[in-house]
Structure formats: structure tokens, C-alpha cells
């Protein structure tokens, strides 16, 4: 037997799943700390790649001068500066990612509240029918 109320509820839920829910439901499947750590780690990886790319371009831009200087320069001091710059860039980016991930997690949880309520109502409807 077709239950009209149930179909209405399921349609609303399917519509949410196809639109806003597409972004929110995967976020809601994580625990808060897991989601934020995952985002921060992903950001650290992309920031590392970006830093590598910028560094490679910087070196290649003045490659001849770099090759000429490499025997004269204080390599330890150069590496130290490089590591400091890298850490500063990556930590700043991780901080931004942390703030953004916390904001998005809270937003997703808020958006999913109605969806979870609809899920509970649906399961209640099935129980009543049985």
C-alpha cells in the first residue's frame, strides 16, 4: 500500500540529499575531531606541494647565480631559513584550515538536524505500520 505521508517525507529527504545534503551528509558522517584533523592534514600536504613549487621556481629563476653561490654560502643557515619559512607558511595555512573546518562542521551539523529528525520520523512511521 502506498503511504502518501511517507512518500512526501521521503521526497523531501531525497531532494535534500540531492542538493545541500550532497555536501553536508559526508561531513556529518565524521566525528568533529576526525573531520577537522583530516582537513588540516590535507591542507598541510597541499601547502607543502605549493611551497615546493614556489621554491623550485625561485631557484630555477636564478639558477646560474644559485649554482655560483652554493659553494660560498652558509648551507646550514640557508636550510634553517628555508625550514623556518616552510613552517611559518604551513602553520599559517593549517590554522586557516582549522578555523574553516570547524565553521563548516558546525554549519553541516546545523543543516543536518532537520534531516536526522526526518529520518527518525520515517523510522517511526515504519514501526507504526508494522
Amino acid at each position: 500500500m502506498l503511504n502518501e505521508e511517507r512518500i512526501k517525507l521521503m521526497t523531501r529527504m531525497a531532494s535534500y540529499e540531492a542538493d545541500e545534503g550532497k555536501r553536508m551528509i559526508p561531513v556529518g558522517n565524521y566525528f568533529r575531531n576526525d573531520y577537522i584533523s583530516f582537513q588540516v592534514v590535507k591542507t598541510a600536504i597541499s601547502a607543502t606541494i605549493a611551497f615546493g613549487l614556489i621554491f623550485a621556481m625561485y631557484i630555477y629563476y636564478d639558477f646560474e647565480a644559485f649554482l655560483a653561490d652554493i659553494y660560498k654560502m652558509d648551507v646550514v643557515a640557508f636550510v634553517k631559513t628555508l625550514v623556518m619559512l616552510y613552517l611559518a607558511a604551513v602553520v599559517a595555512y593549517m590554522l586557516i584550515a582549522y578555523i574553516l573546518a570547524s565553521y563548516r562542521y558546525n554549519k553541516a551539523k546545523k543543516s543536518l538536524r532537520n534531516y536526522y529528525a526526518a529520518l527518525r520520523k520515517l523510522s517511526q512511521m515504519y514501526e507504526e505500520e508494522d
Binding site: M10, T43, I49, Y60, Y61, I96
Partner: protein, 340 residues
């Protein structure tokens, strides 16, 4: 005005009914226009200029998410540049990678602005972009628009210097790389435009959110004026040749375009017919959900009540709470009088 409002309603109904066809067509057109613009301006790789390839790619984009158009456009640009000079292709590839890694990974929904900004430049209405993103985006959209400005100026530089870039065979690879980087980084017009667009996006966003009447209109005017002012100041400070007349005409055209967009797109809720499918233990459901059209609220009547007349003709008032209160207290006074 009434005709325009009727047209708006028709558009809304039309979109609600045929959204399933309109969205892919729009994506197809956007992809096709982007690819044609790229081919027309940078058609260095002969094989990619074949219209069949452009059409097939645009058709493919019509069924895929919007950001895929960006991916295909970036791919086409890099291939064309590779045919011109390897150094150019490497620099632009690095630029695209940096944009993706540092920004668009965080905010993929804004990525389409990178595609639309160079297109607006090509249509001579670049100033529409910061205004539009200020209206529909967030302050962070300034970064997207900025990326679009960088992409446009880099490609414009390659287009204008294609002969010189193609004839750098005699110089070493490193020198060619230096030449490309120096020319891109030293583009003062690009820096002025970046500053102007970024400030405009943020300002339009801030003003349109103010709780004052006509916030949208004020934001539009303030944004347009600020944009022109920053470009003019930048022009004077950096000693570059930006045409003032062109800037002002471009800004006016952009404002007109935004007014049209605001009327038909930004302020309209294009709720659409949805096709959803799901199942339970007994059935498969294929549901077409058609949104109910909202009936406009009846016009409110404002009744002016003159306090002096109220006393003399209290019996003629009906309906409002104030009148009821007035009559009740009048009766109370009468009762008090009787008791005494």
C-alpha cells in the same frame, strides 16, 4: 515596469518547468564561449582549433559539474601555450596549480569566477565581475576575482608577445623562463586592477549587508565609484596608461548589466521542478516535485487615525485594537460615573 515584472514571472515559471534542460544548455554555452575565446586568442596548437573538438568538449561539459569547464579550459590554455613555448606553459601550469592548492581546494564553489572574469574582460565589461561577486559572494570572493584578473593579464601578455616568445630560441631556457616571469610580475596594470577589484568586492559585500533602505543600490553605486577611483589613483601613482574614458564607459555598462542581473537573477528565487528517486522495501519511487507558486501578499491598507477626531466620533471606529481599547475605557468611565 509591470511588463518587466510579468516577464520576470514568466522566466521564473519557464525555469521551474524546464530546469532539467536549461542548466545543461547554459553549461554548454559557457564551456563553448570559454573554449572559443581561448582558441581565438591563443590558437597556437593547430589541432585544438578544430571546431569539432571544441563542440565535443563543450557537450561533455554540459553533463558534468561546472568546475570541470574550468579544468578543460585550463587544459586547453596549457596545450596552446606548450605549442608556443615550453617556458610559458610551465609558468602558467605552476600558476594554475598554486591557485588550486592554495585557494580553490577550500572554496570550490567560487572557482567559476576565475573563468568568468577573463570572459568579462574579453566582453569589455570587466567591472561587472567585482560588483556581481560582491552581491552574490563573500569577502573571500575577492581572491577568486583576483585569480581571474591574474589569468586574464597573463594570457593577454602571452597573446600580445606571442611572436617575441616564439622567437626566443637563441636564448637559454633559463633566460626565457626569467623573461616570462619578469614580464608577468612587472605588469603594473594587473596590480592596479587586482587592488581595485579586491577592494570593490569587499566594499560591495559590506554595504549590501547594511540594514538600510536601498542597500543594494547604494552598494552598486559605491562599488562602481570606488572601482573607478582606485583605477585612476593607481594610474597616476604607477604611471600606466589606462584609458579613463574606457574605464568610465566600461563601469557604466557594468552597472547596467548588474541592474539587469539583479532584477532577473540575484533577487529571484528560482525554485525548480525536481526529479528525485528513492526506494523502500516494496517500491521504487520516481517522483517529480513541482514547486507551488507563491501567491503575492495582498496589499496592506494603512488607515490614518486622527487623535482629535477620535474623541468626537469614537462610535464610528471598528476593528483595531486601539479602538477597542478606547471604547472599553470610555465605557469604564461611564460605569464609574453611574456608580457615583
Amino acid at each position: 515596469m509591470t511588463n518587466l515584472l510579468v516577464m520576470k514571472e514568466h522566466l521564473k515559471n519557464f525555469y521551474g518547468k524546464y530546469e532539467i534542460y536549461i542548466t545543461p544548455v547554459m553549461k554548454f554555452l559557457l564551456a563553448l564561449v570559454s573554449l572559443i575565446t581561448i582558441t581565438k586568442n591563443l590558437g597556437f596548437m593547430y589541432r585544438l582549433t578544430n571546431p569539432a573538438i571544441l563542440l565535443i568538449t563543450a557537450l561533455l561539459c554540459s553533463f558534468l559539474p561546472v568546475n570541470i569547464i574550468l579544468l578543460f579550459s585550463a587544459g586547453f590554455i596549457i596545450l596552446h601555450l606548450y605549442a608556443l613555448s615550453l617556458e610559458c606553459a610551465v609558468v602558467v601550469l605552476a600558476l594554475f596549480l598554486l591557485m588550486f592548492l592554495l585557494y580553490f581546494r577550500f572554496s570550490p564553489r567560487d572557482a567559476v569566477a576565475v573563468l568568468l572574469t577573463p570572459l568579462c574582460f574579453a566582453c569589455h565589461v570587466p567591472y561587472a565581475m567585482p560588483l556581481a561577486m560582491g552581491f552574490v559572494g563573500t569577502p573571500l570572493s575577492a581572491v577568486s576575482v583576483g585569480c581571474g584578473v591574474i589569468v586574464f593579464y597573463v594570457l593577454d601578455y602571452v597573446k600580445l608577445n606571442s611572436k617575441a616568445l616564439g622567437n626566443l630560441e637563441t636564448e637559454s631556457r633559463i633566460q626565457r623562463f626569467q623573461y616570462v616571469i619578469d614580464s608577468i610580475m612587472g605588469n603594473k596594470t594587473m596590480i592596479v586592477m587586482l587592488a581595485a577589484f579586491a577592494v570593490t568586492v569587499i566594499l560591495v559585500y559590506l554595504v549590501r549587508r547594511l540594514s538600510v533602505n536601498y542597500a543594494w543600490k547604494i552598494a552598486m553605486v559605491v562599488g562602481a565609484i570606488t572601482n573607478v577611483m582606485i583605477i585612476l589613483i593607481g594610474d597616476l601613482m604607477m604611471d600606466i596608461n589606462i584609458s579613463i574614458v574606457k574605464t568610465i564607459i566600461g563601469t557604466v555598462l557594468s552597472v547596467l548589466l548588474i541592474i539587469v542581473l539583479e532584477f532577473f537573477v540575484f533577487s529571484v528565487d528560482y525554485s525548480r521542478t525536481e526529479y528525485v528517486q528513492f526506494e523502500d522495501d516494496e517500491y521504487y519511487y520516481y517522483v517529480k516535485a513541482v514547486p507551488k507558486m507563491m501567491v503575492s501578499a495582498p496589499e496592506k491598507k494603512v488607515k490614518k487615525i486622527n487623535s482629535q477626531k477620535k474623541l468626537s466620533s469614537a462610535s464610528s471606529y471598528h476593528g483595531t485594537h486601539a479602538d477597542t481599547r478606547a471604547r472599553t475605557s470610555a465605557r469604564k468611565l461611564d460605569d464609574d460615573f453611574d456608580v457615583r
